[in-house]
Symmetry: C2
């Protein structure tokens, strides 16, 4: 029956949940809409997919107008939203990405964009609130079982600084003691050898650390139901161990 039916396709847009810890809070970059629908409301940045580009390339292109692409320390696909009612007048499918910006950068953003605290967002256009919250959840989960912290942190940092980032992203307090132990045991962090002098109020100088790898890596593989024999002998963290956690 569909013989002479004209092919109908949705328009496809890429959206980004760009997160950064600023002033001790997890914030998301929002853009104030300049046209209907939802004129004047806040929305996630993004735009339509062009012929010949991938979604990832598309979102990088659209973001380049707002945040310098090179300042994105991590970018991953979140989900694709296809409810036909998500746009009041058009048929638009959206693929959302999660982007992270390290805390030491303060990208220039245009007048009509601003950073908003993820807890306590204003009313957002379309289904963008749900998408923004999904981005936060993804980040929170990955902080537990990957090295994604590298994307929130500057190239080197003290444990206190890192703790503040984890606290802001996770939404609860984090013990500096245990954070250091977990991340060092899993071999995510290594000391640079440098020290940071204390502030005016005194205190012991802090050791400076860096993430060993600055690309996403899963570090808590096989939480349970490991393959047999993967228990092995004790404390194999003998520096250059090939198998084990460090990789994969």
């Amino acid at each position: 029956m569909a013989k002479s039916t004209r092919v109908q396709s949705p328009r496809h847009e890429a959206l980004a949940v760009v997160l950064q810890v600023r002033d001790g809070k997890l914030k998301v970059l929002l853009w104030e809409r300049a046209r209907e629908p939802f004129l004047g409301e806040w929305a996630l940045p993004g735009g339509f997919l062009d012929a010949g580009e991938t979604l990832e390339r598309s979102i990088r292109r659209h973001l380049a107008a707002k945040v310098d692409v090179r300042e994105l320390s991590h970018l991953e696909q979140l989900e694709t939203c296809s409810d036909p009612r998500r746009h009041p007048t058009a048929w638009v499918v959206a693929t959302a990405y999660l982007g992270l910006v390290p805390a030491d950068l303060d990208p220039e953003v245009p007048e009509d964009t601003a950073w908003h605290t993820v807890g306590g967002l204003p009313e957002l256009a379309f289904d963008h609130e749900a998408i923004a919250l999904a981005g936060r959840e993804r980040l929170r989960a990955k902080l537990s079982y990957t090295n994604i912290g590298f994307a929130l942190a500057s190239p080197s940092f003290t444990i206190s600084e890192l703790r503040a980032l984890y606290r802001a992203a996770l939404g609860h307090d984090v013990s500096a003691t245990n954070l250091q132990r977990v991340l060092v045991r899993r071999r995510l962090l290594e000391p640079t050898g440098e020290q940071r002098p204390p502030g005016r109020s005194g205190g012991r100088p802090a050791a400076v650390f860096r993430f060993r790898r600055r690309e996403l890596a899963v570090t808590d593989q096989f939480a349970v139901l490991r393959p047999p024999g993967s228990h092995e002998s004790g404390t194999q963290k003998a520096e250059g161990d090939p198998r084990g956690l460090g990789n994969l």
Copy 2:
């Protein structure tokens, strides 16, 4: 410059990686293509998105022709593939889903579809091999930290039967002893009270279990970096505990 440019949109298709354990092996449902491109090669089932439907609804509709929809015990979105070269002659974006079928069912499938072992796939059309493998990885990961086993298993089963499913899906042997302990400790399984009589070769009759919930639930929340105070006293799993692992 794009003033009078005609709007271009990709066509959007939904694909499904439908997995089931059959004959002790993890298999994926494939469809033999009846037209170019890739005529005669194996491909994931799916089809184009229609106006007015969501992607999830679309993939359920397309699958209904191959597997009865009601036989899908779980369906979740995997990823969206947008490389413009993924289709040789057209611009097609694909959103892939992971679907699971419980092991006790043997859905009627048409002539041109068949179950293929995921390890040792033939050459697949388009980028479907990568998508199929991504589906398997998602399943493997979720077997460790969610109750997704319910979607592979029949409504009730013995530990040995469940073990065979986990072994097939994970690709390595699984100890029945520890599988039972982990799943009971996490309160995923409960005994039905029934027993299964042994086979001709004797043996103790097996207790029959069921999954307590048959929708996806995360059971290993907060692998690490838990909020402070979540240690609490011993074994707080006192049925109706509000906080903690069971939910969210």
